[in-house]
Symmetry: D2
Subunit: 97 residues, 4 copies
Amino acid sequence: MIVADFSIIPMGSGTSAAGYVGAVHDLLNEAGVKFVPGPMSTSLEAESFEQLFDVVEKANKRLEGMGVQRIITTVRIDFRLDKEISIESKLQAVKKT
Amino acid sequence: MIVADFSIIPMGSGTSAAGYVGAVHDLLNEAGVKFVPGPMSTSLEAESFEQLFDVVEKANKRLEGMGVQRIITTVRIDFRLDKEISIESKLQAVKKT
Amino acid sequence: MIVADFSIIPMGSGTSAAGYVGAVHDLLNEAGVKFVPGPMSTSLEAESFEQLFDVVEKANKRLEGMGVQRIITTVRIDFRLDKEISIESKLQAVKKT
Amino acid sequence: MIVADFSIIPMGSGTSAAGYVGAVHDLLNEAGVKFVPGPMSTSLEAESFEQLFDVVEKANKRLEGMGVQRIITTVRIDFRLDKEISIESKLQAVKKT
């Protein structure tokens, strides 16, 4: 499993991004991707790089469909080979310390 | 109020960061800064840039004190002039859509 | 065209990343992707999200093949609908101001 | 020496950021900070966290003075204890591989 977070910033579409973030969350629900909204980004779990990138691309295309003219996306990916990770395991690891 | 998130990645100190993230959370508690741990980063509220930067610097110095030899920090800052924001208001804005 | 930059941080593999970054640059050359190395990240041009994501995934797999046990990747994507952009056009736009 | 890069994204101020990035570069010149513009971010060298944070705050305040209503800043910091680094040394390290 890959854990990642991403933020999508629309430029030239006003100062509020909530409507666009909401549209991306709808998309994640439709795609059956587990995600956790945060104040600065949305964290998600993906089975593979393909699945992760698929939702990032769809998110951009959805905002394009909503008329956004420029989109800055930041994706941060935790790809770990030495043990299984999940959103839950990562949150628990920090709480235990 | 400034809302920000930041991640601190120790290099050359093994694959687990949980102990270091825990130390940073201790520091945030000591500093009286409101924060929310996430799976990929820690979000926080700061009264000013000074307060935000102070904790980021202290976090780096604390990891230095723990023997970390290289630290990659990413800070993402939401500085909004047209309305008051908080961690809570940002989470609520997305839920309402 | 999409302009993006990405950084790849190996955890648990020492404090130096230069060998890994070099391997990623080899991969970008093999893939025929135009890129510009920077001090903190590598910028590149991609014809599509698919091409961008393909190299990001390959970069992770190459580091996995080199024995890295955990990899934190950050990809920042500029997807602009209102005009054509390139690495060159973006650098020129800033110089003109 | 700390090497860092940062990007400043104005929201609600049109799709072009070049004028704002140019203003930030003026500010870096005035402050005597060594920097290298890139297609996705600006890299810089700072003597200390204080100097780095000072320019990041001033950049936000300058954009505020230009009427920007919301600013998303991302700062990525390379704080290395095991050897001296500079923009030049980091670029050279990658070229050598």
